[in-house]
Symmetry: C2
Amino acid sequence: MKYLEKLRNSGLRPTKQRLQICEVLFDTEKTFHFTINDLANKIKKQLNNKISLATVYNTVHAFEKKGYLKQIPINSNQTYFDTNISDHHHFYDLKEEKLIDLDNSDVGPINILKKINGKKIKSVEVLVKLED
Amino acid sequence: MKYLEKLRNSGLRPTKQRLQICEVLFDTEKTFHFTINDLANKIKKQLNNKISLATVYNTVHAFEKKGYLKQIPINSNQTYFDTNISDHHHFYDLKEEKLIDLDNSDVGPINILKKINGKKIKSVEVLVKLED
DNA sequence: ACACCTTTTTAGAACCATTATAAAGTAGAT
DNA sequence: ATCTACTTTATAATGGTTCTAAAAAGGTGT
Ligand SMILES: [Mn+2]
Ligand SMILES: [Mn+2]
Ligand SMILES: [Zn+2]
Ligand SMILES: [Zn+2]
């Protein structure tokens, strides 16, 4: 199975439910942004099978911890995840409440001049809010 | 009173509670980051007076809407606000779960090359995650 | 001061995304 | 097949935020 590695690395056995979550998350041309609810609905519609929310939460968090998914820093009542794990940024369309990818190459190089003692930079994320 | 303008512009009458919230928010040398709960506790301790959470929420949201406060885009179970309303960015110390200001001047100029049809940029915010 | 009407405050309830629980089911090892 | 640890699931608990509606305070005209 093509998702064994991701599952094993995340400390998860390849169960039917987890493989289905993988299918929906990783078996696509394009990457996408989602909330837990989005994902649960997508599974139900696309695979005609309901997976309990608890399992979806657990699996998504395990993948996020291992870096197979990213959380998108944004203020919302729900948490947004991203299947695009490359270094990249986001537009947030305030009217439509939609996220749009913004490639690293579409943002000039970002140089953080200030240093914090004893800490090192793990990530640099840009959020560009859009209005009409 | 020194906060009349902010309150009036936000469509709020200058009540005792709102003036106290203003005192804690705006009567300081330094700007700061806070959650609603932080703020309610600060008022209780600093002014020795309890203001109901509903009033704190309402007032903070009214100020935020008018731009007298900013929300900080970050993933947390609580919403973080900022009394520093200048264009600036943030470090987020993952270990300590603390936000640290990052001046515009400490980040090279950010040029967003990609354009979205019919939309204009309202803000550009950088979040730099820190680890040990 | 008083009456009258509007706005505000407040405690508590409701809401809802997320997390915890624990019982029943499943997978992998022997 | 049996055993054991892990997993799924329904459901409950948690907790930040929002809503409600009754009491309090503010403003206005007399
Ligand atoms: Mn989460
Ligand atoms: Mn809010
Ligand atoms: Zn993305
Ligand atoms: Zn700040």
